[in-house]
């Protein structure tokens, strides 16, 4: 009996070692990882009501079915831009704005090659629920790596926002306004007071201290040193949102260039920044923003800022003009001085001693 026990233990130990040392077997995947989903859904739901909606998912792979697992997670924000910070750990505590308890989707779904499927999405808000904004995300996980050193998993996310109407706390504070470099993606270091390239973007940063996501309206006016004004009416052309607690940078173009974009057989409008056509010099920027949910007070925030646009060629011209002006000024000064007081006389050694 003891020998059998030892033998079993030895075999187990060998198996364990082999499993640990050898690379895992590479298992061929039988799922597509090519999906098309809705990136965002917005709902307005009264307490005690619910929404029965569908999520349209497309399997773009024309030869392999798409097996997806779905789950609802919470998210917040990353930095001052519009990047969601996903709380992927299932043990993460619910956020105060979480929809996890109210949002239901199927756990798995399979979609045939090249086909689309509509799955049910249900959001039910209990009676007496407080007003405000609530949001969570639906994560769709597809092909998973089973083997090798590096496994790969492709997932998509739909952000779901629910606005519960009623008396809400709204509080937006202006923090920054000025010319902005879009590549900074919302970071505050994207604001530039001195610009050597013509700015095409004006940005403003607002801190949301309320309990509702905000998208302000209003306009921004640019005024040059000659008093000429340029007004930007499209303050938030992409409909960006300031999440609860977020200090959000909104960007808008000084000159918008609308274009039609086709994707998946449908056409949608896109906007890009056109050449602003600004002249060198100082520009003052004033913003007048309005926000307020239905049934709540409309609030207004204003801020004034400014920036310099000084291209290198302009700086070069100014330096040359100053140098030439300085040269002729010095010559004129010397001429006048000589006329009033006579030519300068070099002091002799004896005069210097005195």
């Amino acid at each position: 009996m003891k020998r059998i026990k030892s033998l079993v233990l030895a075999v187990f130990a060998v198996l364990l070692s082999v499993t640990y040392v050898l690379p895992p077997t590479q298992v061929a995947a039988d799922s597509s990882s090519a999906l098309g989903i809705a990136p965002k859904k917005n709902y307005v739901i009264e307490p005690g009501n619910s929404v029965q909606d569908t999520l349209n998912i497309t399997n773009l792979d024309e030869s392999t079915p798409l097996h997806l697992t779905l789950r609802v997670i919470d998210f917040s924000f990353t930095g001052n831009g519009g990047t969601p910070k996903l709380f992927l750990d299932p043990n993460t505590p619910q956020t105060t704005w979480s929809l996890r308890s109210y949002l239901k989707v199927p756990e798995t779904v399979t979609i045939d090659p090249g086909k689309s499927k509509q799955i049910d999405l249900n959001v039910a808000i209990p009676k007496g629920h407080g007003a405000g904004s609530y949001y969570s995300a639906v994560v769709y996980s597809s092909g998973s790596g089973q083997g090798g050193n590096i496994g790969l998993n492709a997932s998509g996310v739909t952000l779901v926002f629910v606005n519960i109407p009623g008396k809400v706390k709204e509080d937006l504070k202006f923090t920054h306004l000025g010319a902005y470099d879009r590549s900074a993606q919302g970071d505050l270091d994207g604001y530039h007071y001195f610009n050597t390239q013509a700015p095409d973007t004006i940005a403003y940063t607002l801190k949301n201290n309320g309990n509702v996501v905000e998208a302000p309206a209003g306009n921004i006016t640019l005024r040059d040193i000659f008093g000429r004004t340029t007004t930007i009416n499209e303050l938030n052309p992409s409909g960006s949102l300031a999440l609860i607690g977020q200090e959000r940078t909104f960007m808008t173009c000084i000159k918008l260039k609308p274009e039609d974009v086709k994707l998946g057989g449908t056409t949608t409008k896109s906007t890009t920044c056109d050449n602003s056509g600004l002249w060198p010099g100082y520009y003052s920027v004033s913003a007048d923003l309005f926000y307020g949910q239905n049934g709540n007070l409309t609030q207004e925030v204003t801020k004034v800022g400014g920036f310099w646009y000084l291209p290198w060629w302009f700086i070069g011209v100014v330096i040359v003009v100053l140098a030439v002006g300085g040269f002729y000024g010095w010559r004129t000064y010397n001429k006048l001085r000589n006329k009033f007081y006579g030519p300068r006389v070099a002091k002799t050694k004896s005069a210097r001693r005195k």
Binding site: Y20, P23, Q26, A28, A29, S32, S33, A34, L35, G36, I37, A38, P39, K40, N42, V44, E46, D53, L60, S63, G82, T83, P84, K85, G143, S144, G145, G147, G148, N149, I150, G151, L152, N153, S155, G156, V157, A217, G218, N219, N233, S238, G239, S240, K262, L263, G264, T266, T268, S270, T271, T272, D288, F290, G292, N294, G295, N296, T298, F340
Partner: protein
């Protein structure tokens, strides 16, 4: 020259005499006059402004309740309500698409009362009454029925309000201010029509995600303190959503049991002989791995830290590629490098990287 000297002397004597006229006391008096006298003539803004739309359905006929507080003691004979997209009073007024207030009726009023509708057009209502000074505090509300909502859910609209002494909405204004509203599609608002995010990832993918090689793993070979192990995968992503997309890389660092190969938190060159796992999304020469993004949509780019050739980094949850606005399909190649020190514990080091594509908000 003599004339110039004379001019300088004259200027000096003239400005010197101002020293006695423009005393500090005189300047202070001027400032005080500015502070105390200006507001008498200035207009002020209505406070506690608000709008309640009883139904926010686009195109629905509903009632609006406008709330405001009169701030000036002047007699008010009319209130002008102008419905525009832009709330700023001095900007041109674009009529909100679909809005119609020409059939509106004033059904109730509180606070400052006695008003009736003097005139109404598609986007303009003037209320009139016998000029009377507001009673303070004069928070007032006016409910209008028979207003047809705008139909454009993509933007807010405003009511530009002003109070005037005249009874017909003409002449100098007293107080002004705007309220903001927005229509929403029933209980559901579809903010982008039609929003779509397309994403695929595998060892190799087609540009438009119509096919992949269905390989979601890679055996990188045997670790050695002198060599760098490499691998690469591809992903393609595109969206017509106006806010663009982000792709994050998520997952633990490479590990065999409790032995972990950590990753540089800043872009770092490949250093054989040290424990290092990193990724980037551009073409590299040291070691030769990866490729630059492919596709015409140049606004979809790798994040700055993952876009430096021959420098690698990996922090779980980092954004590795993004587009700030609409970007149709673009293909990225993700390069992986793995270095090990001679002291690294033997074992099979593995990880699973989850690439997550999401819209932005």
């Amino acid at each position: 020259m003599g004339r110039m000297r004379h001019l300088l002397f004259w200027a000096h004597t003239f400005f010197h005499s101002w020293r006695y006229i423009c005393t500090e006391e005189f300047v202070a008096l001027l400032l005080a006059l500015f502070v105390f006298m200006m507001p008498v003539a200035a207009t002020t803004r209505f406070e506690t402004r608000g709008l309640f739309m009883h139904t926010t359905e686009p195109g629905a006929t509903t009632s609006y309740t406008v709330t405001l507080r009169f701030m000036s003691p002047e007699q008010v004979g009319s209130v002008d309500l102008l419905f525009c997209n832009d709330p700023i009073p001095y900007m041109p007024c674009a009529v909100p698409t679909g809005l119609d207030v020409s059939q509106a009726t004033l059904t109730s009023q509180s606070g400052e009362t006695g008003f009736s509708i003097y005139s109404k057009t598609q986007n303009h209502i003037i209320l009139t009454r016998t000029p009377t000074s507001p009673t303070f505090p004069s928070e007032s509300s006016y409910t209008f029925s028979g207003i047809k909502n705008p139909t454009d859910t993509s933007q807010a609209f405003s009511i530009r309000m002003k109070s005037l002494t005249s009874t017909d909405g003409t002449g100098p204004l007293i107080d002004f201010g705007s309220v903001r509203g927005q229509v929403e599609t029933g209980i559901m608002i579809q903010t982008q029509v039609p929003p779509m995010l397309i994403f695929c990832a595998a060892q190799q993918v087609d540009d438009n995600c119509n096919g992949t090689d269905e390989t979601y793993y890679r055996d990188m070979g045997t670790l050695s303190p002198t060599d760098t192990l490499t691998a690469q995968s591809q992903m393609a992503v595109g969206t017509n959503a106006s806010q663009g997309f982000v792709v994050t890389a998520n997952g633990p660092p490479m590990a065999a049991g409790t032995s972990v190969i950590n990753s540089p938190t800043l872009p770092t060159e490949s250093q054989p002989g040290t424990n290092q796992f990193g990724i980037n999304l551009v073409e590299n020469t040291v070691p030769a791995v990866g490729g630059n993004p492919e596709g015409t949509w140049a606004n979809a780019i790798p994040s700055a830290d993952y876009a430096i050739p021959n420098k690698y980094k990996y922090i779980s949850g980092d954004v590795v590629a993004y587009s700030p606005n609409v970007s149709l399909m673009r293909k990225f190649t993700v390069s992986y490098i793995l270095n090990s020190s001679k002291d690294l514990r033997a074992g099979v080091y593995t990880t699973t990287i989850t690439l997550i594509a999401s819209g932005r908000f």
